[in-house]
C-alpha cells in the first residue's frame, strides 16, 4: 500500500478486499471509441446503468470480497451490496480513502 494513498487514482478492480474508496470517474466505452463529444457519463449505456445503481462520482464504496474463482467481486455502497465483474469495475476510477466515512 503506497503511503500517499489519497491522491493515487486506480480502477476499482485493482483495489484489494476491505479497502474504502471514492469514485472519481466512470469511464464509458463510447468515450474511448467516439472521442470528444461523448464526454458526459450519461451518454454511455454502461456508465448510465452504473449511475442508476448508485455508482457515480463521489460515491463511497467498500470492497467486500471476491468470488472463489476471483471474479466477480462484491462491493458495498449506498447501504447495499452490489456484485460486479472485472469488465465493469475496471471502468470505475477511484481514490483510496483512509478510513470509512459513512455518515
Amino acid at each position: 500500500m503506497p503511503e500517499t494513498q489519497s491522491s493515487e487514482i486506480r480502477s476499482l478492480d485493482q483495489i484489494p478486499n476491505g479497502e474504502f474508496v471514492e469514485v472519481v470517474e466512470v469511464v464509458g466505452v463510447m468515450e474511448v471509441a467516439e472521442a470528444a463529444d461523448a464526454h458526459t457519463p450519461g451518454d454511455d449505456p454502461i456508465a448510465r446503468r452504473l449511475d442508476d445503481l448508485g455508482v457515480r462520482k463521489g460515491t463511497q464504496i467498500e470492497v467486500i470480497r471476491r468470488a472463489p474463482l476471483g471474479d466477480p467481486t462484491i462491493y458495498e455502497l449506498c447501504n447495499y451490496q452490489l456484485c460486479l465483474r472485472r469488465t465493469e469495475s475496471a471502468r470505475i476510477l477511484v481514490r483510496l480513502l483512509a478510513k470509512p466515512d459513512r455518515s
Binding site: 449511475d51 442508476d52 468470488a67 466477480p72 460486479l84
Partner: protein, 645 residues
C-alpha cells in the same frame, strides 16, 4: 396539495383503475404484488419479448371496488439499454400493444437503500402521472439500526409515501386505502431536475434531510457470508447444495411419479372395463387418460423444483450461488443463474426451462432455454438403458469400472458439453448480449414466509398445467391417433402380440415410418426405428414401449425385447438391423434430438411464440442427424457392421 393534474382515465369511473407497480428488481415489488393481489395474478408475456408480464386484481379500501395492478419488469431507471428494458417505458407511455396504460403509478423502493433509489423516484414522479411511493423492508431497516422520516420524505417529494412490510402484510391496508382515491394524491409543486447530474444533487439533499440514521451492515448476513462465500467452504457448500438440489428433484419425485403412473394405469383399465370394447374405450383409456397422465406426471418434479428454488431464492442463497459460479458461466457468455436451470434440466428439461425465470437478462434466458434440452434428462435413461444393456457387453474396463457404465457416462458428458458449446456459439452469433453489464444485488438473508413461498410454488405448478398441459394433452392424443389409425383387418392366425405389431405396421405412424425410411437409412435406421422415433415425440422413453410393440414382445422390461433387437435381420438382405454402427447412431441421435412435445410446449409457454420451439427443434434435429450420420460412418469404417462375440 394540488389535485389539478388529473390524468385522463381517472375521471372515467366506468373502467376499473389501472395501477402500474414500478421499482428496482430487489425492492420487494413481487412480494408487494402478491400481498395486494393474493393468488389472482395472470401471468403472460409482453409482445415481442420474453419479459414476463404479470397482472392482478387488487381490492381497494372502499367497499368492493377493484383495480387492475400491472407488475412492471424490475428496472433501475427509465433510460432503457435494451429492447427488453424498453417494455417499461412502452407501458408507461401507453404504446405497448394490448397493455392498458396505467392511470397511476406505485413506486416501490427498498427503505435500506433509499439514497440509491431517490434519483429514479424523482425521474418517475416527473413523468406527470399520479404517483405514490411505497417503502419496503422497513423491518430490515430497523433491524440494521437505521431510521428515516416518512413525513419529511412525503413533504420533500410532494407525493404520498407509505411504509410496508410486504411479507408480513403490515401497511398493506393503509396502502389499499390510499389506492382507493388516486385522484386525491398530491403532486409536487416543482418536478425533480431533468439533468442527470442535477437530479443526483436533488436526490442527495433529500436523502440528507430524510435519512436520520443510515443502516449498519446486516450482522447475520455478514457472519453467514463469511462461511457461505468463503473461497473453500463456499465452493464446497455450492457443490453440496447443487448435488442435493439435483438429487431431491430426481429421487423425491420418483415415488410420486410411480404412484401417478400406477394411478393412471388403474384409471385406464377402469375406463376400459366401464366402456364397451372398441375404439372409444381405447381412446379414453390409452389416449385421454394416458394423455392427462403425461401432464400430471411432471407435477412432482415441478413442485419439488420450485419449492427448492423459491426457498433458496427467498433465503437469499440463489444470488450467492450465482456469485460463486458466475466466472465459469461467464466464459460461455452466460451468467451464474443459468447454471441452476441447466442443472435442473438433468432431471427434466420442463422444470429446467421454467427455472430460467430467475435469469434477469432475457437474452441469457433465451439461450439457456434453447440449450436446456441437451442436458441428459431422465426420459433418455430408459432408452440408453435398453440399448446399452442389449448391445454393450458387461465387460470391465478398469477395476470396477465397466464398459456399460462408461458409455452411459459418455452420453451424459456429451450432452452437457454440447449444451455449453452451443450456448457459447449462440451468444457469439445469433443471440448476442444486449449490452447490459452484469450487475447483481446481493440481498440480505431473510427467513422466507411460508404463505408467500407456498403461493409461489402453487402458482408455478398451476401455470404449467394451464399453459403447457393443454398442448401436451393435445399432442399425446394426436400421437395416439397416429399409432392406432387407420384400423386394418388383422389376419386371424396371428396371436395377440403379433396382431398388435401388425396393426402398428399399418397404422398412420407405421406408414410414416416406412415413408421416412429412405431419409433415415443413412443413419442405419429402418422403418421400425422410424416408428419408434415418431412415437418418442410424445416422450423419449416411449421409444422402448413402441419397439416392444413393433417387435411383438410382451414386456418392455424383459430379456425378450433385447433378444428380438439383437436377432432382427433385414428380410431382404439378411443383414443385422442393429449393427454396432446403428446402435451408436441411435444413441447419439437421442443425445441431441428434441424428441419431446412437453419441452416444446413449455418453450412455447416461456417464450410466448412458436418461433423458438420450432427453432430449437430444427437445430437439434440437424445436430442429431449430422452427429448420428457421422457416428454411423465412423463405426462402419472401423468395421462395426457386425458384433464380435
Amino acid at each position: 396539495m394540488t389535485s389539478s393534474a388529473i390524468p385522463n382515465g381517472l375521471s372515467n369511473s366506468a373502467s376499473p383503475l389501472v395501477f402500474g407497480l414500478l421499482g428496482s428488481p430487489n425492492a420487494g415489488k413481487t412480494t408487494l404484488f402478491n400481498a395486494l393481489t393474493g393468488l389472482r395474478a395472470k401471468v403472460g408475456n409482453y409482445p415481442g419479448v420474453t419479459v414476463e408480464r404479470r397482472e392482478g386484481e387488487v381490492s381497494l379500501g372502499r367497499g368492493d371496488s377493484r383495480a387492475l395492478l400491472i407488475d412492471l419488469p424490475g428496472t433501475y431507471g427509465l433510460t432503457p439499454i435494451s429492447a427488453d428494458e424498453a417494455v417499461v417505458n412502452d407501458v408507461l407511455s401507453g404504446s405497448a400493444v394490448g397493455v392498458a396504460r396505467p392511470d397511476a403509478l406505485i413506486l416501490v423502493a427498498d427503505a435500506c437503500s433509499l439514497s440509491r433509489s431517490l434519483p429514479f423516484i424523482g425521474q418517475a414522479i416527473s413523468l406527470g402521472m399520479q404517483t405514490c411511493v411505497v417503502l419496503t423492508m422497513l423491518d430490515e431497516l430497523a433491524a440494521r439500526g437505521g431510521s428515516l422520516d416518512i413525513q419529511r420524505l412525503e413533504a420533500s417529494l410532494g407525493v404520498p409515501v407509505v411504509g410496508v412490510v410486504g411479507h408480513r402484510g403490515r401497511g398493506i391496508d393503509a396502502l389499499r386505502q390510499l389506492l382507493g382515491d388516486p385522484a386525491g394524491w398530491s403532486r409536487p409543486a416543482i418536478d425533480a431536475p431533468q439533468d442527470r447530474a442535477e437530479r443526483t444533487g436533488w436526490a442527495n439533499s433529500i436523502a440528507e434531510n430524510v435519512i436520520t440514521q443510515r443502516p449498519a451492515r446486516h450482522q447475520l448476513t455478514e457472519r453467514v457470508d463469511r462461511v457461505v462465500l468463503h473461497p473453500v467452504w463456499g465452493s464446497l457448500l455450492f457443490l453440496a447444495v447443487m448435488v442435493l438440489f439435483f438429487q431431491l428433484i430426481f429421487t423425491w419425485a420418483s415415488p410420486a411419479m410411480d404412484a401417478i403412473d400406477g394411478l393412471i394405469t388403474a384409471l385406464a383399465s377402469l375406463a376400459r372395463d366401464a366402456l364397451p370394447a372398441g375404439w372409444i374405450a381405447d381412446l379414453v383409456a390409452d389416449g385421454l387418460v394416458a394423455g392427462v397422465g403425461s401432464v400430471v406426471i411432471f407435477l412432482p418434479q415441478i413442485i419439488i423444483l420450485f419449492a427448492l428454488l423459491y426457498l433458496l431464492e427467498d433465503l437469499g442463497y440463489m444470488a450467492r450461488a450465482a456469485f460463486v459460479v458466475d466466472r465459469l458461466m461467464g466464459r460461455i457468455g452466460l451468467e451464474g443463474r443459468s447454471f441452476v436451470a441447466l442443472l435442473s434440466s438433468y432431471a427434466c428439461a420442463v422444470p429446467g426451462i421454467m427455472a430460467t425465470r430467475t435469469i434477469p437478462s432475457p437474452r441469457d434466458r433465451l439461450v439457456t432455454i434453447l440449450v436446456a434440452p441437451l442436458m441428459t434428462c431422465s426420459a433418455r435413461l430408459p432408452v440408453y438403458a435398453l440399448l446399452i444393456s442389449a448391445f454393450v457387453p458387461e465387460r470391465s474396463v478398469w477395476g470396477p469400472i465397466g464398459l456399460q457404465g462408461l458409455i452411459l457416462l459418455g452420453l451424459y458428458v456429451a450432452g452437457a458439453v454440447a449444451a455449453l458449446i452451443v450456448a457459447a456459439l449462440f451468444k457469439k452469433t445469433l443471440i448476442r448480449g444486449d449490452g447490459l453489464p452484469f450487475t447483481m444485488e446481493l440481498p440480505t438473508y431473510r427467513w422466507p414466509t411460508g404463505r408467500v413461498w407456498l403461493s409461489q410454488v402453487v402458482g408455478s405448478a398451476w401455470a404449467f398445467i394451464r399453459r403447457a398441459g393443454t398442448i401436451i394433452l393435445a399432442a399425446s392424443i394426436i400421437l395416439w391417433v397416429l399409432l392406432n389409425f387407420p384400423k386394418v383387418e388383422i389376419p386371424a392366425h396371428l396371436d395377440e402380440s403379433a396382431a398388435s405389431a401388425y396393426a402398428l405396421e399399418y397404422s398412420a405412424a407405421g406408414r410414416i415410418g416406412h415413408a421416412i425410411e429412405p431419409a433415415i437409412a443413412p443413419l442405419g435406421f429402418d422403418w421400425k426405428i422410424g416408428v419408434g422415433l415418431i412415437a418418442s415425440l410424445a416422450a423419449r422413453e416411449i421409444l422402448v414401449a413402441t419397439l416392444a410393440q413393433v417387435y411383438a414382445t410382451d414386456g418392455e422390461e424383459g430379456e425378450s425385447l433385447r433378444e428380438a433387437l439383437r436377432n432382427d435381420r433385414d428380410p431382404e438382405t439378411g443383414n443385422l438391423v442393429f449393427t454396432p454402427a446403428t446402435v451408436g447412431a441411435l444413441l447419439v441421435f437421442f443425445v441431441f434430438a428434441l424428441q419431446c412435445t412437453s419441452t416444446l410446449a413449455i418453450m412455447r409457454r416461456e417464450t410466448n411464440s412458436w418461433r423458438w420451439p420450432a427453432f430449437a427443434f430444427a437445430y437439434l434435429f440437424v445436430l442429431a442427424y449430422t452427429a448420428s450420420f457421422v457416428t454411423h460412418r465412423v463405426i462402419t469404417a472401423l468395421g462395426g457392421t457386425d458384433w464380435v462375440s
